[in-house]
């Protein structure tokens, strides 16, 4: 081990995330005109430093009595490392026009913490980066600077920090149980494993724990959403693949994630929220893959995570470009933009084709691995639901997004293409979508497990084309018959209704009489006490007079504060 540390020290003295933290510090002082330097150089230098890493390398630091593995390299962490370098290069390019120092710094720190998380070798290091991601990313939501985004950011932070607290609790329990903090495979038969599973599950947007994603991502800034959709959920997928590969429960969870959000996506008007629901759907595919747990399924899950960062980023960027130029993002307000934004339209359609898994586009070569693994392991019902979800993806993300933004009814909005840096960033992503779709070997060479999958054969291409074209036929038919639901302004209730409406109002209803009774009790006690004190004044020394009343007051204040915190959610 020591010689490995020495070898690492000689070739690569710094963990890759430090480059990003350094760049973030530089962004504090750099003028706007020089911001492109850290955004272009940091991801490239970080990728170069990753190329110098070999699986098995470690960087250890000692804090107090604990030895922390700040960096532990294996093929899985390397793959996500490269992915996050790429994502920060694309996201950074997309935000070069932006004159908002806070967002640039937050995004750079966020990218660095995500990179740190995938190389963390122990649960405590993971916790530090996990919370770092939460705290840095929330600024990308606050930075929209509206009441809506501020309250969405608060709810986002509650979930994210809550996930971190669960992770810390799991780490402590795990350390007590095993004497080790190793971030390795876990099981659900002990409390530490369950808590860790929940901590990962929140960031992976498990059903009922997902609302921070569909709530907050569409409220973030134009550029912030691109970073958000690249990192947090993919770190969670990485963590699940590392610790819970082959956990059967994940198959069920993933199937629900793949199938339920597409219904919301069909009736959602905010096109970036449609993409957020569609992200949960794609995460469902990955979670199923991790649950199946064979080499093919796991490779499929991480390959799909890789592709999703690029094509979902591309779709988020194209919708961000629409929002940036027109100030609108609701499908009901848009339409006909292909005339003003033909380049954005074409790039968006490339992203749509990729997420829909058209042959020759990136989604095809990764999603099919998960489907093939499900069939191979004889999960036929799972396979059928995933097939349904695949058809649904094309329907809501592949057709709905480009159709309502760029075609549909002409909204009369006339604008221009977004700034050059935005077009370049979208262009890079689109090129990668096509390149990976046509030459999947490059992506497959990064895969951590043994891989012999061949995506292109007659059966696979033809069946995929059949399902896609007949899904499109359904869209055309429903539209021509007037059955397709119109885009309308409004809110569609999701499970966060429980947190935002039901529980608060139930608490208010339940707690109000208690508070009234408590207040009355305190008042009564105070009056009685005052009478007692008045009577007893003659018998007792004056210095004891109000001591116990103060105690009671403090207790009441603490209780009231606690209730106030609960009610203010």
């Amino acid at each position: 081990m020591l010689d490995q540390i020495a070898a690492l020290g000689a070739t690569n003295p710094l963990p890759p995330f430090t480059l990003f933290f350094g760049a973030a510090a530089l962004l504090i002082v750099l003028p706007h005109s020089l911001r492109f330097l850290p955004w272009l150089l940091t991801p490239v230098l970080a990728a170069v430093s990753l190329a110098g890493l070999e699986p098995g390398m470690h960087t250890r630091v000692s804090v107090l009595n604990l030895s922390l593995e700040l960096v532990e390299v294996d093929k899985l962490s390397l793959m996500f490392g490269y992915l996050f370098c790429l994502a920060s290069l694309i996201g950074g390019t997309f935000s070069l026009h932006l004159r908002d120092r806070m967002q640039h710094i937050a995004a750079m720190v966020y990218a660095g913490t995500a990179l740190g998380a995938v190389f963390a070798g122990d649960l405590l290091s993971l916790f530090l980066f996990w919370e770092g991601m939460a705290v840095s990313s929330v600024f990308l939501i606050y930075a929209r600077r509206s009441n809506t985004s501020s309250s969405a950011a608060q709810r986002y932070l509650v979930f994210q920090v809550g996930s971190g607290v669960l992770l810390l609790a799991a780490a402590i329990l795990y350390y007590q149980g095993t004497g080790s903090l190793d971030f390795t495979s876990m099981s659900l038969d002990n409390p530490a494993g369950v808590l860790l599973f929940l901590a990962f599950g929140i960031k992976a947007a498990f059903p009922f724990l997902h609302t921070w994603l569909t709530d907050a991502y569409p409220e973030a800034t134009v550029t912030g959403t691109v970073f958000l959709s690249s990192f947090t959920t993919k770190v969670a997928i990485y963590a699940l693949a590392r610790s819970y590969a082959g956990t059967d429960l994940l198959i069920l969870i993933g199937v629900v994630m793949a199938a339920t959000p597409i219904f919301y996506a069909v009736i959602e008007n905010d096109l970036r929220r449609v993409l957020a629901y569609s992200m949960m759907n794609q995460l469902g595919f990955m979670v199923v893959g991790i649950g199946i747990g064979t080499d093919l399924a796991l490779n499929g899950a991480v390959a799909h995570a890789f592709n999703d960062v690029i094509f979902k980023g591309l779709l988020m960027m194209s919708m961000g470009a629409v929002l940036y130029m027109t100030g609108r993002i609701d499908g009901s307000d848009l339409g006909g933009l292909y005339k003003s934004m033909p380049v954005t339209t074409v790039l968006c359609i490339v992203g749509a084709a990729s997420i829909s898994a058209f042959p020759l586009f990136s989604g095809f070569v990764s999603k099919s691995m998960i489907m093939a693994a499900a069939v191979k392991e004889n999960y036929i019902a799972v396979w059928l639901v995933l097939l349904f979800a695949s058809a649904g993806v094309f329907h809501h993300a592949g057709i709905k997004i480009p159709y309502f933004a760029f075609f549909a009814h002409d909204s009369g909005i006339r604008t221009t293409e977004p700034p050059l840096n935005m077009r370049i960033a979208m262009g890079i992503s689109a090129a990668l979508c096509v390149f990976i779709g046509c030459f999947p070997g490059t992506l497959y060479s990064l895969l951590p497990w043994a891989n012999e999958y061949k995506p292109y054969d007659y059966t696979h291409v033809v069946t995929q084309m059949q399902i896609l074209f007949f899904s499109a036929l359904a869209f055309v038919w429903l539209n021509l018959r007037g059955i397709y639901p119109p885009e309308i302004h409004g809110v569609n209730l999701d499970t966060d209704w429980l947190l935002r409406r039901l529980i608060p109002s139930a608490l208010r209803t339940a707690v109000a009489p208690l508070v009234a009774a408590f207040n009355a009790g305190v008042a009564l006690a105070r009056r009685t006490a005052q009478r007692l004190v008045a009577t007893g004044r003659t018998y007792l020394a004056p210095q004891y007079e109000h001591a116990w009343l103060t105690d009671l007051g403090v207790m009441a204040a603490v209780l009231a504060l606690g209730i106030a915190v609960l009610l203010s959610y």
Partner: protein
Amino acid sequence: MSDEPHANTRFIDPQSEEPGFFYRPEVIRNILRGFYAICALLFALDFIFHRHAYVSFEGLWGFYGIFGFVACVALVVVAKGMRVLLWREPDYYDDSADHPTHKHQHKGSGH
């Protein structure tokens, strides 16, 4: 980050200019014809070439086409029903008082 439209953006009455390429009825008609032709061809392929079936019922003629069509119609019909239950006014969660959608309440159409 402002939600105001970019300075290059203006709003016109779409009726005031010639319909764009993709709004001309003959273009739409031709696109749809081509699209139907591809659908028919893809459906017909099942009767011409043998494809490998991994699951018994999946080998049936037209399985994927019919599945895709039925799945999407079911998806939309169910989602439309969900809207009856789940749809609320944009200001339902009252913190959205400054949301841009408030300023223009017109309902768009699906076409």
